[in-house]
Amino acid sequence: MTGQYTVELGAGADAAADRIGGKGVGLLALARTGSSVPPGFVVTVDGFEALLAAPDLRRGIAEVLGKLDPFDPAGMENSSSEIRRLVCGSPMPFPVAEAVADAYGTLCAGAGHDVPVAVRSSATAEDLPDASFAGQHDTLLWVIGTRAVLDAVQRCWSSLWTARALGYRAAQGVPEAGAAMAVIVQQMVDARTAGVAMTVNPSDGDPSKIVIEACWGLGEPLLSGEMNPDHYVVDKVLLSPVRTRVAAKPRELVAAPDKRSLLRRPIDGDRLYAPCLNPDEVVKIARLAKEAERQYGRPLEIEWAVARDSAASESLQVLQCRAETVWSKRSQRSPVVPPESGAAGIANTLLGL
């Protein structure tokens, strides 16, 4: 179901980054690669702009921004709270709310019950290789029911003005006027194991490796750096694992038994020290990351999850995909191999042994 305010995440859909934000574009592109992406939709920037069309709200925000002092952290926090309160308190325009409710309804109709969704911000300037905005805006997990989804969307919109985002825009000279926000609503995967895959080795920029980090349950504790993940290094060309480091993983974030909420629970017994991916899964994730990088034409970071109970063929899902921003920014690596070849190359090599 695609219209002015929502765009369905599906292989056939297309929309510009200025309507659905960087993450939204990434997910659409992923869906086109044939990767298994959980169903969902994007609330377009139009929805956000419809909300901001309310003159009172605009005025309120402008007033707070006018007094903003980027060098006063406590003041920034206060301004952020003030704006977010205004945004969340402003009623969502009916056509937008209707579109979101319809889209969520369609998602649930497919499943036969209210499905848990992740609601994430997708800023129009976020995730570009040159502006590392990632993590500045809100993500809400395991949201269930139409009312809760609508609230979550609005909260995501308001997270355009987190203190971090305000500070970042001020420091980078990004004008406040152009800032806009789309929101992704995506069915959640009840993950047995989840994590990230990077298509360059983040420790040395080696582009021939895919590095996978993984934890039991949902990937959020890993993404927020709360825990040590398992670490797998895979050769990108041969798709063969070259190194595996298994961490002790004492906790996991999983769906509660009634599937109505999430809970954090301790891990004991064998799973504490067991690798949370088997070798086949490692290769499968690496293959997926390699293919996605090839289609995007640039290094990527991918969030993925292995579903707890679905058929093996569809158990690996891609949740997110964004351009790698650290090594991509570097200028050319300094040469590590002397330029001589032939006998001179050999002599160099022998002298270096």
């Binding site: 582009p207 490796k209 050769d235 060309v237 690596r333 001179a344 050999i346 002599a347 090599t349 002298l351």
Partner: protein, 618 residues
């Protein structure tokens, strides 16, 4: 007595000899032994057991191949190409096994050798193809000379024609000269053996090292796959077998070939029908030279060459025919291998900065230019030259056996090559003198004594290494062929780590299967479908058996060792260079072989060797 040097590996001087092997030292030339008067020097060096080429005990005459091959390797590094960092290898035979020690160039001489090396190696790389064509000419010429040697029994009296012509010489002249010629020609082709080999490995090492810098932790396998040739002469003998199997099916004579005991009778039977004769014609055409091919390493007088025992290739042909009749493909997927090689090369190249691309290309090109030699020379030297050499030597042994020198036809190999020269003179002298030669009373007892010593030595597997840990290894063959690196040596010292044996990840894939220890080609017939071959070393000619195996594990060998290359050809998981797998694992144990990680896990470590069910090739 010098103070005992504390070593990481056992000192050769402190290893007790196996019971019954006392006096083994006198079976080898003095310079091949660890001697008391150079004990300190020997103990401070690092020696690894070259079980890749000498997996079993070496008979005195066979030490000739140790001497010639190792010397040949050294002369090209040290004196011919003036390799900057590496001289040759020192070598010893200790308790029947061959140990090698890479000799580094003293640091202060290294720089002066660089310009010499650039000029000499540069010349070879630049003129590689024409020099190689000349090489083939020289080597085949030597083989033809070897083939022309005749060891004819001495006549009762010389023919009158010789007297009439005023010859004035006896046939011992030819006999003695023939023996000297045999030895000299063998020495000659062992020199040629290394004319291109050291450079081939050096070019490979250069590309290998560069790849490891560009892509840290890149699997060795990826590098090997980029360099590896596919349509190699070394695989031609096997190719001929496949063609013969296909021809048999085409001609409808395959029934004869799947009979119970393929052998010379099979060929006779085929010769009885017109279609069969078409096939035996093709057989003869393939035989010379391609069946000068052994399942052994070529370093043993007992290595069986297809040329000498047709039952060996006929067994392989039977296996192929049976697979064809089941509708299974028997061709190697050469196009697939080439496509994979090009894909991998292009993908790695695309990961480089544009400025690095030219260096990558140049180094890869050189490695690929040099690499086919690294495989193909095997056919010309280990297989063809040595096949002829051993055949001729056996002929001479039979001649002296007929004169009562030893109990069995092939017992001459219990003598060193200089002792054979003495025995031969004893023989011609006895003939000239008209009295029985001393050898008839001297050698039979001595040969029996030596046989008992060799048997005693063979009962104990060799130590993987002796002496000290090396600081670095700077010799290209040591690194690329034997897989000798400081890390690997340390892993040998550790032995089992977490129940896993660690080696070189030589051919990717995961397999679980039952171990079959294969100490030499004589064990090959015991290998059953789906077993994991565990061997001190494998030879490329074991190919047809690899088709039955599920995985291969060896003690010695790098990612370019013979086992590794053949396993990749057959898409079999392989772990090489484990140091001790063949001594720690027993036949019947369940193994998990991870060819990508280079680990071998014994799944039931407490299993003891079950009573060996020997099975003759049937």
């Amino acid at each position: 007595m010098p103070p005992t040097v504390r070593t990481a590996f056992p000192s050769p001087h402190e290893l007790p000899e196996p019971p019954g092997a006392e006096g083994w030292q006198r079976l080898y030339p003095y310079h091949l032994l660890f001697q008391r008067d150079r004990r300190e020097e020997d103990e401070s060096a690092f020696w690894f057991c070259d079980s890749q080429h000498w997996p079993s005990v070496i008979k005195p005459f066979e030490a000739t191949a140790v001497e010639f091959s190792v010397k040949g390797m050294g002369q090209f590094n040290t004196r011919y190409f003036v390799t900057p960092t590496a001289y040759g290898m020192d070598r010893r035979i200790h308790q029947g096994y061959c140990y090698l020690s890479p000799v580094a160039v003293p640091a202060h001489e290294v720089q002066a050798r660089v310009p010499e090396f650039l000029q000499r190696a540069g010349h070879y790389f630049e003129h590689w193809q024409e020099l190689l064509a000349n090489w083939k000419h020289k080597v085949v010429g030597t083989i033809r000379e070897l083939e022309a040697i005749r060891f004819t029994p001495l006549p009762d009296v010389q023919p009158f024609e010789e007297v009439e012509a005023g010859l004035g010489l006896d046939p011992s002249d030819t006999l003695l000269a023939g023996y000297d010629r045999l030895i000299a020609l063998c020495h000659r082709n062992w020199q040629y053996h290394f004319e291109f080999l050291n450079l081939g490995y050096a070019a490979y090492l250069d590309f290998f090292t560069a790849c490891k810098r560009w892509f840290p932790d890149m699997p060795d396998l990826g590098i090997a796959k980029m360099v590896q040739g596919v349509d190699l002469e070394l695989f031609r003998p096997e190719e001929e077998l496949r063609k013969l199997a296909e021809l048999a099916v085409e001609l409808g004579v395959d029934d004869v070939l799947i009979g119970p005991e393929p052998g010379p009778r099979t060929l006779e039977e085929l010769g009885a029908s017109p279609d069969g004769r078409v096939w035996t014609e093709a057989w003869r055409a393939a035989r010379d030279p391609w069946f000068n091919f052994t399942s052994g390493t070529g370093f043993y007088s007992s290595d069986v060459y297809w040329r000498d025992d047709p039952s060996v290739p006929l067994h392989y042909i039977r296996d192929y025919v049976q697979r064809l009749r089941k509708g299974e493909p028997i061709d190697r997927n050469l196009a697939g291998l080439v496509a994979e090689r090009e894909r991998i090369s292009a993908e790695y190249a695309a990961l480089l900065e544009p400025s690095e691309y030219d260096v990558f290309e140049a180094k890869l090109r050189l490695a690929r230019q040099a690499y086919p030699y690294v495989e193909n020379h095997n056919f010309y030297i280990e297989h063809w030259t040595m096949g002829v050499f051993w055949r001729q030597a056996r002929e001479l042994s039979r001649l002296l056996w007929a004169d009562g020198f030893w109990p069995a036809e092939d017992d001459m190999f219990y003598l060193t090559r200089d002792e054979v020269r003495e025995a031969l003179f004893d023989h011609v002298n006895g003939w000239a003198t008209g009295r029985r030669p001393a050898g008839r009373t001297h050698w039979p007892l001595e040969v029996e004594r030596r046989r008992r010593i060799m048997d005693a030595l063979a009962r104990r597997p060799p130590e993987p290494a002796l002496g000290n840990l090396p600081e670095s290894v700077t010799e290209p063959l040591s690194v690329m062929l034997w897989g000798i690196t400081p890390e690997r040596i340390r892993s040998w010292l550790d032995g089992y780590a977490d129940g896993d044996l660690v080696g070189v990840p030589a051919s990717p894939g995961l397999a679980v299967g039952t171990a079959r220890i294969v100490r030499g080609p004589e064990d090959l017939p015991f290998v059953r479908e789906g077993e994991v071959i565990v061997a001190p070393v494998t030879a490329p000619s074991w190919g047809p058996v690899f088709a039955k195996a599920r995985a291969v594990v060896t003690d010695i060998g790098g990612v370019m060792s013979h086992a590794a290359i053949v396993c990749r050809e057959y898409s079999l998981p392989a772990v090489t260079g484990t140091g001790t797998a063949s001594t720690l694992i027993t036949t019947g144990q369940r193994l998990r072989v991870d060819g990508g990680a280079g680990t071998v896990t014994v799944l039931d470590p407490r299993t003891r060797q079950t009573s060996e069910v020997g099975r003759s090739p049937s």
